[in-house]
């Protein structure tokens, strides 16, 4: 009688432990895979020139207290891009009435903020864009505008994928790998 009762009490505990063990094992593998994916992806973004070291500087500023710092900053940056591109597009609309001064101001702002978040390709287009502004080359400016629009949208997609990977890692109980770029 006593034994029977003991067994009844024991078995659920026993079962729970074995279930949690295999869950743990599974999670560890999943986490490791995701972390590997994340690492590879972020390294490829640096290698392909989408990001530069300033992005890794921003990542240093993220912690448990501010876990979304990077995604928030880049989100503001993309908003900036959208607004500035619209303004600059308007400036370039009429061939004989281009406000190059306003254009230059817009490019300067875009160059600044892209530099601050490590958006390397966007920043590089801004450098060319500024050169076109300086010589009042409307055609060149239009091309640069198109390119900067393309680049920021491309980066936005890439970073969204990166942040999604981050979320998956965290949800699986893992930590985001520190990736050192130098």
């Amino acid at each position: 009688m006593v034994l029977f009762v003991c067994f009844e009490q024991l078995s659920p505990i026993f079962l729970y432990n074995s279930v949690s063990w295999s869950t743990l094992a599974m999670n560890t593998t999943v986490v490791a895979q995701l972390q590997r994916q994340f690492q590879d992806y972020i390294v490829s973004l640096y290698q392909q020139g989408f990001l530069d070291s300033q992005f890794s500087e921003l990542r240093k500023l993220q912690d448990e207290g501010s876990p979304d710092f990077v995604s928030e900053v880049v989100s503001l940056f993309f908003d900036d891009c959208s607004k500035l591109i619209n303004t600059m597009s308007r400036s370039l609309e009429q061939p004989d009435n281009v406000d190059f001064k306003q254009l230059d101001s817009g490019v300067h702002q875009l160059k600044g903020s892209s530099s601050s978040v490590g958006a390397r390709r966007v920043k590089n287009v801004c450098i060319s864009f500024k050169e076109c502004c300086d010589v009042q080359n409307r055609e060149g400016c239009l091309r640069c505008l198109q390119q900067v629009d393309y680049e920021y949208k491309m980066l936005k997609t890439k970073l969204q994928d990166l942040f999604n990977l981050e979320q998956q890692i965290l949800q699986a109980g893992g930590t985001i790998p520190q990736v050192d770029i130098n």
Binding site: E57, L58, V73, H108, Q109, K111, G112, S115, S116, V117
Partner: protein
């Protein structure tokens, strides 16, 4: 994040406790806590600099223009701002290129004020223009940072500020008569260091102005502080107005890339 374009991210209540703005009785100031006023018209840059400063344990007030900075400091009108007596600002860090009032113009106004001329002012710029840097340093800027600003840059500034705050008793605005700076008058260093585009230019300047203002400025205390933060040598700091001329400056000029 606040987007009102005005004073972002430092709520009124925090401002009250910092400087007793509006004449409200404030809590005793924590003299060890460093309060930084950051000025930048770019929202992205404001957010980043603010985070950089907070992560290095500074209290931050971030504003989007020189005018708002002056307003915050109580320098925007002629009458004496008695209620700003207790406004404790340990560092002002400002962007150079801003619409309306440039960082340089703001620097001048701060250095002209009796209340805040002692406060170190750091200029940030995305452009590495030597004449611009020279001008700012001559006007009394403490340092010039090349954007994008990195954590190492801010840590460097921070490490000097802590010692500065501890050494001088009380409000930054007052003369630190009993500071242990050995300095009197300093000749400004010539020439400024060569800056590589990749790293923030660590520059040194004596902020000793040519007028008959106080012989000691808080920044000169920096000379007694050795570099303690583990930062990479590329951003080697020469944030000091060294009283002991060459030996200390040379000691700090460790970076091989500098002339």
């Amino acid at each position: 994040m606040a987007r009102d374009g005005g004073v972002s991210c430092l709520r009124r209540s925090e401002m009250m406790s910092v400087g007793g703005i509006g004449g409200i009785e404030s809590a005793p100031l924590d003299l060890d806590e460093v309060h930084v006023l950051a000025v930048d018209d770019s929202l992205v840059d404001r957010i980043v600099i603010e985070r950089l400063l907070r992560i290095t344990s500074c209290k931050v007030t971030a504003v989007d223009s020189g005018w708002r900075a002056l307003e915050f400091l109580g320098l925007d009108n002629e009458k004496a701002s008695a209620e700003f007596d207790r406004l404790k600002v340990d560092l002002i860090i400002t962007d150079y290129c801003m619409p309306g009032m440039t960082g340089y113009e703001l620097l001048k106004k701060i250095k002209e004020s009796s209340n805040f001329r002692e406060v170190p002012v750091v200029i940030m710029s995305s452009e590495n223009v030597l004449t611009r840097i020279d001008r700012c340093l001559e006007e009394g800027a403490q340092d010039f940072l090349l954007k994008p600003v990195k954590l190492a840059d801010v840590k460097r500034l921070r490490s000097h500020l802590t010692k500065d705050v501890k050494l001088s008793n009380g409000n930054k605005r007052k003369l630190p008569e009993d500071s242990n700076s050995v300095n009197s008058s300093l000749p400004p260093p010539s020439p400024p260091l060569t800056i590589s585009p990749e790293s923030s230019p660590p520059l040194t300047v004596s902020t000793e102005s040519s007028d008959s203002s106080p012989p000691l400025s808080p920044v000169e205390i920096f000379s007694t502080s050795p570099l303690s933060s583990p930062i990479d040598d590329e951003d080697d700091d020469v944030l000091t107005s060294s009283s002991e001329e060459s030996p200390i400056r040379r000691q700090k000029m460790r970076s091989p890339g500098l002339d």
